[in-house]
Subunit: 233 residues, 2 copies
């Protein structure tokens, strides 16, 4: 598929661009491929540009000074990522890292071209900021639960203990029951379990949670950390 056709398929604001704007967008775009595990943005400090995922999967995460990673979100085919353009979008004041999770094909739009077009076209400006805001809102939720409430750790501790007590990796309990055990709300537990599932720690079934990565769960729970493991963040 050529670049123009990819844009037509994936960008809701494409019909609102003028012929000149479309031509500029296409001319400022290149196709790139990344291997599984390769870093796409954030480690070199380069100005990567805006990303449109064509195939594969990207993972966006915070990297702490001591090397701990917190996944912020995953980008599947059709997703647009503007955080990798913090160099020119003055509203972005922080940096994330982005890796290819599997072999991934991307379109990369030069940040200056993107910036100029959002200034010219209100539909593009609106769609981009609305999408970015929605993504941010999800990220805030994750940050709040993981870093502030330490819900990920509490949930991991509970799952690790249940697996040990019951002698099976498949736990038969509802999200509501789990929520009452860890002192949270059902909706919150459902979202955190989905986050765990996306990280490959558990598999969710009908009325069941199966721990697929017991070592990962124990590490998150701090069980293997010895007496010093009370402060995983």
């Amino acid at each position: 598929m050529n670049i123009e056709h990819e844009f037509e398929t994936h960008l809701p604001f494409w019909p609102h661009l003028t012929a000149d704007q479309r031509a500029l967008l296409v001319s400022g775009t290149s196709r790139r491929s990344f291997r599984a595990g390769e870093n796409v943005h954030g480690r070199t400090g380069d100005c990567t540009g805006i990303l449109l995922v064509l195939s594969g999967e990207l993972r966006s995460y915070f990297l702490s000074e001591d090397g701990r990673e917190v996944t912020l979100y995953r980008l599947l085919p059709g997703s647009l990522c503007i955080l990798s353009a913090s160099c020119v979008l003055e509203t972005i004041t922080f940096d994330v890292s982005i890796d290819a999770e599997v072999d991934t094909e991307l379109l990369v739009v030069r940040a200056d071209v993107f910036n100029r077009l959002t200034k010219e076209n209100i539909y593009m400006d609106r769609d981009v900021h609305k999408e970015a805001f929605a993504r941010f809102s999800d990220v805030m939720w994750t940050m709040q639960q993981v870093l502030f409430m330490k819900l990920d750790r509490r949930l991991a501790i509970f799952l690790a203990e249940e697996v040990l007590d019951r002698g099976t990796d498949t736990l038969r309990m509802t999200h509501d029951q789990i929520a009452r055990h860890v002192g949270s709300a059902r909706e919150v537990i459902t979202r955190m379990l989905k986050y765990f599932a996306a990280e490959g720690l558990v598999e969710l079934g009908r009325g069941t949670v199966t721990v697929t990565d017991p070592e990962g769960i124990r590490a998150l729970a701090g069980v293997d950390d010895g007496p010093g493991g009370v402060c995983p963040v």
Copy 2:
């Protein structure tokens, strides 16, 4: 000043609203006053609506389960706050608390009216999401530094030690010097010092940092916490 005139002054999208849209916005808006320290949003679970600050100051913060607060941002006169409308804006998936820092006068727009108008008017939709995205970007920075990097704590430890060593609350050093001491970058230290100043912990002068709340700085540094105080978050 009447509500219409306040909107004309503060809302960049006001000229782009039709007469009907303006009338709907005004009819869905009420004026409210809050005393210093009063909770404006977040503790009762009510659907507050969108806020426009006319005078005074609001503080938006996360409240942890154990009662710790992290200030996300401050809203000064002319600021619009949409996070208090999470009840109707489906893009907002988390909750913040908002208090009046001093006696504060607000306009409160009913969330359903606001929601309907952003669906109808692309200028309003664009401006609101652009503003929200910029605010979020700042919040992410704070969250990352405070919760993930613990930079607030590292900086507080450094300031507390310097005050003790030098026997004075006014430290003569540049942000660059401080950055090298705590292992960070100058821009990052400048932002965190501004955050400390907004929290009333320090006062910033030309080439000086004055600790105005030594007890607050020591509490943040964990100095008064005894041997267990290594994990303030």
